[in-house]
């Protein structure tokens, strides 16, 4: 049974991850993880100490659990880029800061780092307002470039077809055929996927109101550590990590909001999607890397997410996720693994690590941390 330990600051509680039922588990492993959470309260998504929290927490957890595989996410620079006014100097300082945090982790842990930049950011140029369509347009997953369109009227289709900031209108069939090798529940996929032009983002009902400053840059290619010479596509990363895990300890490190233009390490540019489609930073991109296969349809962008959110929904702490992906990288790794990150609460699902420790923040509201223990038998 996977357990979630919530730390709401000076107050902790253990739950069954799947059902959300409170548990009274006080195993030594739980106690150890709880103590780590207690020592590392999350400073907040926009706080400059957010990335330091990742390194400190990971090192603390590693000292006590001794993993061979570590998955890390550094996201502070993504949040501040998205929501704060940043000069070029601010941006450069944010990149330097995350570089130093990653290097500190590498120096102190001795792990071989394999670093993935999830894609750069560019200033928002324009919003494309879809709220007045007759049909229902939805953005999900913090998406800027993509929106799903449901039940459009002929007038809607004319409107979006003539909109100067919309680059492409993709039918469900077209989208499915681009990723025809991926399993899909066609009914969950919007009738149309709308693709915004570079620098633009969609405005739909259901969106958050905070003022967005930057959006994902065109991310057809993303940077990975130059040592990953056999990798040319995001779906190849997993195998490359597994190969290196056979000979030593490896840290797979996601650095959010950094693309080839500002990646501070020597890198290779790899494909981050297919043809016109690229992944924006988020759970689908994580899953693609950690499972080694494209994951566009599992929780498709722009789907009617709210229809699945009833009392019967399982995994209440896990965002969109409705099940634990069986083939995530750490889930099939025989050695010990941990994951630590400050980007939302999906890493425990996307990685399948024995122990994950994540911030519990939604829409930038900081409510503490969550640890998920998938495996106790390796302790």
């Amino acid at each position: 049974m996977s357990r979630a330990i919530i730390d709401a600051r000076e107050w902790q509680k253990v739950f069954d991850l799947r059902t959300g039922t409170a548990k009274a588990d006080t195993s030594p492993l739980d106690q150890m993880v709880r103590a780590v959470q207690e020592r590392h309260p999350y400073p907040g998504d926009l706080d400059s100490a957010g990335n330091r929290w990742v390194t400190d927490t990971a090192l603390d957890l590693m000292e006590r659990y001794d993993p061979s595989f570590v998955f890390l996410t550094y996201a502070q620079q993504y949040f501040s880029g998205r929501y704060s006014i940043q000069t070029d100097a601010d941006r450069a300082a944010a990149v330097t800061a995350v570089y130093e945090e990653v290097e500190r982790f590498v120096a102190q842990s001795g792990f071989t780092p394999l670093i993935v930049g999830t894609g750069g950011m560019i200033p928002l140029l324009a919003s494309v307002d879809l709220t007045r369509l007759d049909g229902l347009a939805l953005c999900t997953h913090w998406s800027a470039r993509y929106a799903g369109l449901h039940d459009p009227s002929p007038r809607d289709l004319r409107t979006v077809a003539s909109h100067p900031e919309i680059e492409r209108i993709v039918t469900r069939e077209e989208f499915l055929s681009l990723f025809r090798d991926c399993p899909a529940d066609a009914a969950r996929i919007p009738e149309y996927l709308l693709v915004a032009r570079q620098g633009c983002m969609f405005k739909t009902v259901g969106g958050a109101f905070r003022k967005v400053r930057k959006v994902p840059a065109p991310g057809y290619s993303i940077p990975v550590s130059a040592c990953l010479e056999e990798v040319s596509d995001s779906t190849d990363v997993r195998a490359a990590v597994e190969k290196r895990l056979r000979n030593g300890r490896v840290a797979l490190i996601f650095v959010e909001g950094l693309g080839v233009e500002d990646f501070p390490w020597p890198y290779r540019a790899i494909d981050n999607g297919r043809e016109w489609f690229f992944y924006e930073t988020g759970d689908a991109q994580y899953l693609t890397v950690t499972t080694g296969r494209h994951q566009v349809f599992e929780y498709p962008v722009g789907y009617r997410y709210f229809e699945e959110d009833g009392p019967a929904m399982e995994f209440p702490f896990s965002g969109y996720f409705r099940s634990v992906p069986e083939d995530a990288i750490a889930a099939s790794f025989g050695g010990r693994s941990i994951a630590v990150g400050n980007r939302s609460m999906f890493m425990h699902m996307a990685t399948g690590a024995d122990i994950s420790l994540e911030c519990f923040a939604r829409n930038l509201y900081n409510q503490g941390t969550m640890a998920v223990i998938h495996r106790s038998d390796k302790a």
Binding site: K13, R132, R362
Partner: protein, 336 residues
């Protein structure tokens, strides 16, 4: 020219902006400056808003506008409520009343709830919305600080059928220093008035060592208004001007709340992940009648519902519930 929508009673003559900056003097009449500008239009579980005793398990369309007549030091929506409306207006959604209602239908929402800021800031738009919603059989609810004048409280009652009213504190010093108002009396008056004819729940954010000493007094006031009024005590999430403050201690507040449970049967303590104080027990026999799950900022949700109609399954005692209960929790509200 005086605006009488709320107890600030601002003088808007000569182009003066008023506290909320949402109204203006237009040749002797009060005019809304940004009609039908919405900062939010988002489907939500009704428990997340929070309403625990209205259509449990249902989906509501949450709307909001901008501006506020309070200046709470811990505002969690300061980026909408405290910003100069002129600066944020361009980002707002412009939807006519019928478009808002259509969005609610498209997303399977059986009600529309005004949240985010203060409904008194947008009376004319809300009056029009209420008419459009009524025509479609959709009910309206709101979160409000209830700092409205007596006349506009009647207007609130004509627009909304269910309320969650913020009772933030009682002492003059607290209201002056943390909320920026001179007296809580209008709020107490309006809680009484609205609870007389409408479904009312009350929310109180607790700041440790600042207003937790008033829990008993607040509970007694509420019990006097309506002995079964549902009361949500929120653990304050330090935001805005109080960002550096400590998070209130959960066990301390939960302990303090134990003593008020004998005064009010429906007392909840939440706004943090995993709260165990979110369930409803039958005031008659103590049976668990509604089980919920709290994700803090991620919102609360219904987990299980054990009433027969509006009564306790075990002893039959009536449970405080408003709206079409069976439909909401059993089937959700998916109506494409």
């Amino acid at each position: 020219m005086q605006c009488n929508y709320c107890e600030r009673r601002c003088d808007l003559s000569g182009g003066k902006p008023g506290v909320c900056r949402m109204y203006e003097d237009a040749d002797g009449a009060i005019r809304e400056r940004f009609p039908h500008h919405w900062s939010s239009c988002i489907p939500s579980r009704i428990e997340s808003i929070p309403f625990y005793h209205v259509r449990p398990g249902s989906r509501a369309l949450v709307i909001g506008t901008m501006g506020c007549n309070f200046s709470c030091r811990y505002c969690s929506n300061a980026f909408i409520a405290k910003e100069d409306p002129t600066l944020v207006a361009e980002r707002m959604l412009r939807l006519s009343p019928s478009e808002v209602v259509r969005k609610a239908r498209q997303m399977g929402c059986g009600s529309i709830v005004f949240n985010v800021n203060e409904p008194a800031m947008s009376f004319p738009s809300l009056l029009e919305l209420a008419e459009a919603a009524r025509a479609e059989g959709i009910s309206l609810g709101c979160l409000t600080n209830a700092y409205t004048t007596e006349e506009s409280t009647e207007m609130l009652a004509s627009i909304f059928s269910f309320f969650n009213i913020g009772l933030k504190g009682l002492s003059p010093a607290f209201n002056r220093d943390f909320i920026g108002i001179t007296s809580v009396e209008p709020i107490l008056r309006n809680i009484r008035r609205l609870a007389a004819t409408r479904h009312v729940e009350v929310t109180t954010p607790i700041i440790e060592s600042i207003n937790d000493n008033e829990l008993g007094e607040m509970a007694r006031f509420l019990a006097d208004v309506d002995p079964e009024i549902p009361w949500h005590v929120f653990r304050l999430l330090p935001e805005d001007e109080m960002k550096e403050s400590c998070y209130p201690d959960i066990e301390t507040i939960a302990g303090a709340l134990e003593s008020v449970r004998s005064i009010l049967p429906y007392v909840y303590f939440h706004n943090f992940v995993g709260s165990e104080w979110v369930n409803t027990h039958c005031p008659g026999c103590g049976a668990l009648v509604i089980e919920r799950f709290s994700l803090g900022c991620g919102g609360d949700k219904l987990k299980s519902f054990h009433c027969a109609g509006q009564g306790c399954q075990d002893c039959g005692r009536q449970i405080r519930l408003a709206g079409d209960v069976e439909c909401a929790w059993k089937h959700g509200e998916v109506q494409r």
